[in-house]
Subunit: 257 residues, 2 copies
């Protein structure tokens, strides 16, 4: 089994996703936000590249109950229901609804994964749930690509450490595993941060920027391991919850804040 | 002082090099080869993107004594004097000559650094010499960008670890230093490999590929710290030795093999 990590979607080529299971990671904050929305009962999350496309989709789907969400330069887009703070995506706000989401970095990574056998959304908040799914697919012989969204096309530390956790968890229970250089590096970074994941809030440039912009509370949630144990799956341009047959864990209650 | 690391030249934007001192790293093997050639007395090394351009330059410069060198898929290009094995660049072969060099990854990184205040070629073999120069420029207040050539646009472990050494060495003697995420990660990776740099030969994908292709001997040289203590400087499309006024270290003798 191959396990490859990519530190940004721009380094990804079609051969890196074809017939593979892909995990897309944008810890601060899109993949955390998507996970919380799905855990809190959103029917689906539909990611869009541009605010314009998101607004157009909101008009088309208005009849079915939608939440229009997204950020630019970290702040909620004017006129949108929500920004990109995961704690805003409460059950009261999203249950049964379609969440239309546009963010700076996370959306592009999902689109870059198009053509994969299966695309999962991973973060610290659903780490163990996603790892369980990855172990099943690796058991079946599927190669795994872990794609860090990064920040403005640059390497981002929090995504790399999260990716390294998946590499470590997967490599541990596979006998013959091949890792690319980024997977080896991510695993060592994860080891280096394993007792201090919270420190990523201050170390990572994106963490410092979010804190300075008043979103420090988001970072605490984003670095809380396994707070929302669901597996969001991206297929046909939308993210939904992994079918219950594959995901026996009930959604957590009273998690919305 | 800012110290930024870039894990591939494709993530570099002009603002990341302007008015900065840039170190370009391609440990396996171009930056090692360039360093060895300069240490062994080559008058200059002129990098070219394409074999065609290198051949054209060789014809133009034939009268002044040239060595035509380069690789594709790791092997010497047909008809070239040398490949990209640093040990081939002996004093006997290169002293006083212009080395025309085309390699798969290293050349692009040098070109991407165009417009910088100063561009240095760094590797393990000249690590301390380059670090000394970086400390001087950081003392003067210049920001530093460390550009890993990577491999086929992907992250490469050996370049990242070497970059991390420069970050550690620089950050240690600066009071106020700002690091981007890649610099923080590189520093942690360097720490993780500090007692086992030789292990990069087997861990790094490029190392395994070179060993499989019969270039294992190159890797030993490429991971030998400070074997060739010179500072190659890239300016006006050619690499030359840093002027003696700035570089008091005499060239090593009897190093060529």
């Amino acid at each position: 089994v191959r396990i490859d990590v990519f530190f940004g979607p721009s380094t990804l080529t079609p051969v890196d996703v074809q017939e593979r299971v892909v995990v897309v990671i944008d810890v601060f904050r899109a993949s955390t936000t998507i996970t919380v929305a799905i855990a809190n009962g959103a029917r689906r999350v539909i990611p869009y590249d541009s605010a314009e496309a998101a607004i157009a989709a909101a008009k088309t789907l208005a009849s079915e109950g939608i939440v229009l969400a997204g950020e630019r330069r970290m702040f909620r887009i004017d006129g949108f229901d929500l920004g990109n703070s995961p704690a805003e995506f409460t059950a009261q706000m999203v249950r049964g609804k379609s969440v239309i989401l546009t963010t700076t970095n996370g959306t592009g990574a999902l689109v870059a994964a198009a053509g994969a056998r299966e695309v999962l959304v991973g973060a610290f908040v659903n780490f163990s749930a996603v790892l369980r799914r990855l172990r099943v697919v690796a058991e079946e012989g599927a190669d795994v690509s872990i794609v860090c969204a990064g920040r403005d096309r640059q390497f981002s530390l929090e995504d790399a450490v999260c990716a390294g956790g998946f590499v470590r968890g997967l490599a541990r229970c596979q006998t013959a595993v091949e890792l690319n250089d980024a997977a080896l590096a991510a695993r060592r970074l994860q080891r280096s941060y394993r007792h201090e994941v919270g420190r990523l809030r201050a170390d990572a440039g994106h963490g410092r920027a979010l804190t300075a912009a008043g979103f420090g509370g988001d970072l605490t949630l984003c670095t809380t391991l396994d707070a929302y144990p669901v597996v969001p799956v991206y297929a046909e341009r939308q993210v939904t919850r992994q079918p219950a047959t594959l995901d026996p864990t009930p959604p957590p209650r009273a998690r919305s804040r």
